[in-house]
């Protein structure tokens, strides 16, 4: 038997970037089960199309760069799935595909894939879609009306304002906070199943793929803002419950904020980052132009990460020339 010479750690490691991405993918796929059971096969078709577009963008970009195609891990898949889960179910099929293409081709690849993206690609994709197609992004179908949703075609069903929209106009959503838990209310595909999102979040924290402190501090910040300045005239507790469960705050806190590439490096930095993101999300909800301000808030929070890093890490680079001319 010929023996070859290999480098030091010889044991099979369990945590690698692709295994972390696979965990996130499993957690995201879990979120798809509830809508598929309730509304038919359309979510699966949507997710499939978006993943296909992500893969095509990756291949096109590496062909353009004449670099080997299989160098990519499945982080673009995660971006695609996150974008699909933030879209309404009756959105036209090309909407998540356009957002995913923007996320991969503009927010991820030009900055150097995976390790060097300054912004979370999924957040950039959703922000782009919200800005360019606001009507399609916030037209949620009525879940309790039980209309059949076609698998492929664009469905023209009656749209109903989501609790987040009602909150934005300062009224009290007619659905009680407690039965918002079961997720039978108008909202994006993945964010309505509050219990499922919490379960997937717990799964990610236990497997140490995501850092729990970011999500905890984000929810804390948002709850504090909701309690101190409630948007609707009610006791602070119900305002906190409505704010946390409506819109995509919980989903973004668990899946988009905990992306290790765009979060600070130290524990204290992550606490500050989570709290800052929670407060920003609430500010965007109150003063923003659209009902779902989470994606924009995450972009600004990601821009502040280098600041938090140098603030907390203490590698005082501020003094001398950061970028030689």
């Amino acid at each position: 038997m010929t023996l070859l010479n290999a480098k030091a750690p010889y044991l099979k490691k369990e945590a690698s970037v692709s295994s972390m991405m696979r965990d996130t993918l499993i957690a995201l796929a879990f979120l798809l089960i509830l809508p598929v059971v309730r509304y038919g096969v359309r979510p699966l078709v949507m997710a499939g199309m978006t993943l296909l577009v992500c893969a095509l963008c990756e291949i096109a970009w590496s062909l353009l760069q004449s670099r080997s195609i299989n160098a990519s891990d499945c982080s673009s898949m995660v971006t695609g799935l996150v974008i699909v889960l933030l879209m309404p179910l009756n959105a036209p099929m090309w909407l998540p595909c356009a957002a995913a293409a923007f996320a991969i081709l503009v927010a991820k690849k030009p900055f150097g894939s995976t390790g060097h993206t300054p912004f979370n690609p999924a957040a950039a994709g959703v922000a782009f879609a919200t800005l360019l197609w606001p009507q399609q992004m916030f037209a949620y179908f009525n879940p309790s009306a039980h209309e059949a949703l076609p698998a492929f075609a664009d469905c023209n069903v009656g749209t109903v304002p989501s609790p987040a929209a009602v909150l934005k106009n300062g009224l009290k959503p007619d659905i009680l906070p407690m039965d918002m838990l079961w997720g039978v209310f108008a909202g994006p595909v993945g964010t309505t199943g509050i219990l499922v999102v919490c379960a997937c979040g717990l799964y990610l924290f236990l497997k140490r793929t995501a850092n729990w402190e970011i999500t905890a501090c984000c929810l804390l910040g948002a709850a504090l803002m909701a309690a101190l300045w409630p948007r609707i005239a009610c006791i602070p507790l119900t305002s906190v419950k409505y704010e946390l469960m409506s819109g995509s705050l919980l989903f973004c806190a668990v899946f988009m904020l905990t992306d290790p590439v765009t979060s600070p490096r130290t524990w204290l930095g992550r606490v500050i980052y989570g709290f800052f993101a929670g407060v920003l999300i609430m500010l965007f909800r109150r003063y923003g132009a659209y009902e779902q301000g989470a994606a924009f808030a995450i972009l600004i929070a990601n821009a502040a990460v280098p600041h938090i890093n140098s603030l907390v890490c203490g590698d005082r680079r501020w003094g001398e020339e950061l970028y030689e001319e």
Partner: protein, 196 residues
């Protein structure tokens, strides 16, 4: 007390919703120039705040005087620019003859900080948001702070935008422009419509 509170509110607005840097796209060549020299960043934005203060007050005074004339859309900007130029020359004169070597260190920062689109857009912002003189001062200070924050963000992000994992065509300026694009997309979510 209320004028001070008014000033603070407009300053806060200048940084968030009425941020003419990100939502208006004004003066980013100067933000990048300031970000490339982080040592003089603080003084640069201080000068920007100072000169936008001059032009905001001067602008509202000039628009009051030129209210009647028919050539208002043409005369007003050139008058405002002229007064900004005068302000620069005065400040340059003043600094040159100061005892301690202030000018030698920050001299070459003074010129770009005084003559840029942020300063000249002040009178237009004052008209657009119909600010009272006190809140005009607040707005100018707010814009100075917004400039400082934006330049601080870019000074930190610049080393990250030049790594070698990026394709060669995107290194340096193109990545910075995309970075500005995505960040102003976030602010566009806050404002929603055209600022001016």
């Amino acid at each position: 007390m209320t004028t001070f509170a008014q000033m603070m509110i407009t300053a806060l607005l200048a940084v968030t919703t009425e941020n003419i840097l990100f939502a208006g796209g004004v003066g980013f060549s100067h933000v990048l120039r300031a970000a490339r020299r982080p040592k003089t960043l603080g003084v640069y934005s201080l000068f920007v705040a100072l000169f936008s203060l001059f032009s905001a007050v001067g602008g509202s005074w000039i628009s009051a005087k030129l209210a009647g004339s028919v050539f208002r859309p043409v005369l007003f900007p050139s008058a405002a620019a002229f007064c900004a130029a005068l302000a620069y020359i005065l400040v340059a004169l003043l600094l040159k003859f100061l005892p301690f070597p202030f000018y030698k260190q920050y001299g070459q920062v003074l010129a770009p900080a005084a003559i840029n689109t942020v300063v000249l857009s002040m009178p237009f912002a004052v008209n657009r948001f119909s600010l009272s003189p006190a809140s005009a001062v607040g707005y100018a200070l707010g814009t100075g702070i917004a400039f400082y924050l934006a330049a601080g963000f870019f000074a930190r992000a610049m080393p990250e935008l030049k790594n070698d994992a990026m394709p060669k065509a995107f290194r340096g300026l193109p990545a910075t422009l995309l970075y500005i694009g995505i960040l102003s997309m976030a602010f566009a979510g806050l404002v929603g419509t055209k600022l001016f």
